[in-house]
């Protein structure tokens, strides 16, 4: 598998695709998300696994998103996500509020190639009340025991960032096992990586259990600091100054446009492009 550029990865996400992205701790491919914005992606059906922050907020702000399935969008200590809040008020994106384990359960159904997955809880919530695609059934093994069933979530494209990949398309994910689940569930998986290993990652038995094999990987791009301005594992922290300026600027559409323009000149953004 030959390595692709970040822009080439973004070109592999078709308009209208069901795109799955991941929570900050799992490794967010921010450089690729910026390339998606730069290429003017439209109509994406975003699924966050199971939550998101800056990545979803910027994709929404740039008009890339038609619908959003999420358990939460937050910039954590930096506050509420401004473009998300604005889009909710304006009604410009279709909202599918979820709960974290329901998103994992949907992916697990897709991983198994089955149409749905049952899950405890959720019954008397307004989350369920607003999800026409979620059903309640009687436990077939214990009638009277009501249980929620959730349709499989099979993303067209999964997108995330990892510490290490090799030239064969194997990617190392450490403890972030939700990335393994996501790759198994998705029709294609695009990965940006901090570093590229010359050897085959599967040759190291001590590490191979934390490797998603190339079987599930569609394309890999080398993207040092590819999660910037978000933190990435032990490798680098959040760019707090940039985040603080983002939350204040992106409160208005004009301010968000200024953020996008200034990114073209920003050393942190250029590094990973």
């Amino acid at each position: 598998m030959s390595l692709r550029s970040v822009a080439e990865l973004a070109a592999l996400v078709p308009d209208g695709a069901r795109l799955a992205v991941v929570k900050d701790e799992s490794g967010v491919a921010m450089a690729v998300a910026r390339a998606l914005i730069a290429r003017g992606a439209r109509g994406l059906q975003l699924v966050t696994v199971p939550v998101s922050g800056l990545e979803a907020d910027m994709l929404i702000g740039a008009g890339c998103i038609a619908s959003l399935e999420t358990s939460g969008i937050t910039l954590a200590e930096f506050g509420q996500a401004p473009c998300f809040s604005r889009a909710v008020k304006a009604g410009t994106i279709q909202l599918k509020d979820a709960t974290c384990p329901a998103i994992y359960a949907g992916l697990q159904a897709a991983q198994k190639g089955i149409p749905f997955m049952p899950l405890r809880g959720i019954l008397e919530t307004d989350v369920l009340a607003n999800r026409a695609d979620w059903k309640v059934i009687d436990n077939p093994f214990a009638p009277g025991d009501r249980i929620v069933v959730l349709p499989a979530i099979e993303p067209d494209v999964a997108l995330f960032h990892v510490p290490l990949a090799d030239r064969f398309g194997n990617v190392f994910i450490g403890r972030q096992r939700e990335l393994m689940l996501l790759a198994h569930a998705s029709k294609s998986t695009l990965v940006s990586a901090e570093r590229i290993s010359e050897g085959n990652l599967l040759d190291d038995e001590a590490r191979s259990g934390s490797v998603i094999p190339s079987l599930y990987i569609t394309a890999v791009a080398h993207a040092p600091r590819g999660a910037w301005p978000l933190a990435f594992g032990d490798e680098y922290g959040t760019d707090a100054a940039w985040m603080a300026s983002y939350v204040s600027e992106a409160r208005t559409e004009a301010g968000f446009e200024r953020v996008l323009r200034s990114l073209a000149e920003h050393p942190g953004a250029r590094l990973a492009a």
Binding site: K23, E25, S26, V49, P50, V51, T70, S71, G72, I73, T74, A76, E77, Q80, A81, F84, S85, V88, K89, A90, G91, L95, D97, A98, T99, C100, P101, A102, Y104, Q108, L119, R120, G121, I122, L123, E124, T125, D126, V127, L128, N130, G144, D145, R146, I147, R175, Q176, R177, E178, L179, M180, L181, D234
Partner: protein, 256 residues
Amino acid sequence: MSAAVLNAGVPNAQAARPASPTEGLIYTIARLLAGCRHVAVGASSPIPGAAALYTRAVSDGATRVSVLGSRRHNAFTNGGVELFDLAAQKRIDAFFLGGGQIDGFANINLVGTGTYPQMDVRWSGSFGSAYLYYLVPRVILFREEHTRRVFVPKVDFISAPGPRDDGAYRPGGPHAMLTSLCLFDFDKARRRFVLQSVHPGHTVEEVRDHTGFDFDAPMMIPQTVQPDATALALIRGRIREEIGETYPKFAAQLAA
């Protein structure tokens, strides 16, 4: 626990700097966690995290703690789904939830105010609450801001419902609710909060003034038990160090 609360008012040792409100909250949560085998702590939860680590420290190895976002105090190796699988298997005894709104039936709202979906104020979302509230036996509702904006007669959106007699599978639910003013129990049979204690410097009247729903209050309301010198030394030493790995800014404030 009322008897324990009433009897534990022993005078603090003279030497220690008195407990700060934050230290009082940590200690109160830790008391609510006594006897748990496994306490899990979600994102953005420094005070519950510190309390869970305190409980572990005094448990003589009986309490396991999983702090999400921590490398050292979280042994999960099966990804984001592991917390939820553990909860459904009854392998987690206690968890913490907050809420932009909480009502007198212990319904919680993490989604926003107004009419869904185009809400007036939109918050982050329900996270795992719609599920964990049903499954974890001791859910501790923790919301520092004690105002009528938070404690409303009826939530605008139910992210997670309080207990009700509907025959649903529900081994979990609210165990207590702690705010910057007071500690409540929740009476599941009567579906009402019951005031347990009021923190030093605050009054029952103040609690009533700032709560938008009706709750029960016994004639005598004790003051919330504060950490003694030994407890404070533990919080200011080992616990501050342990929670600092995940929440360095919070740990720095604890020291101040």
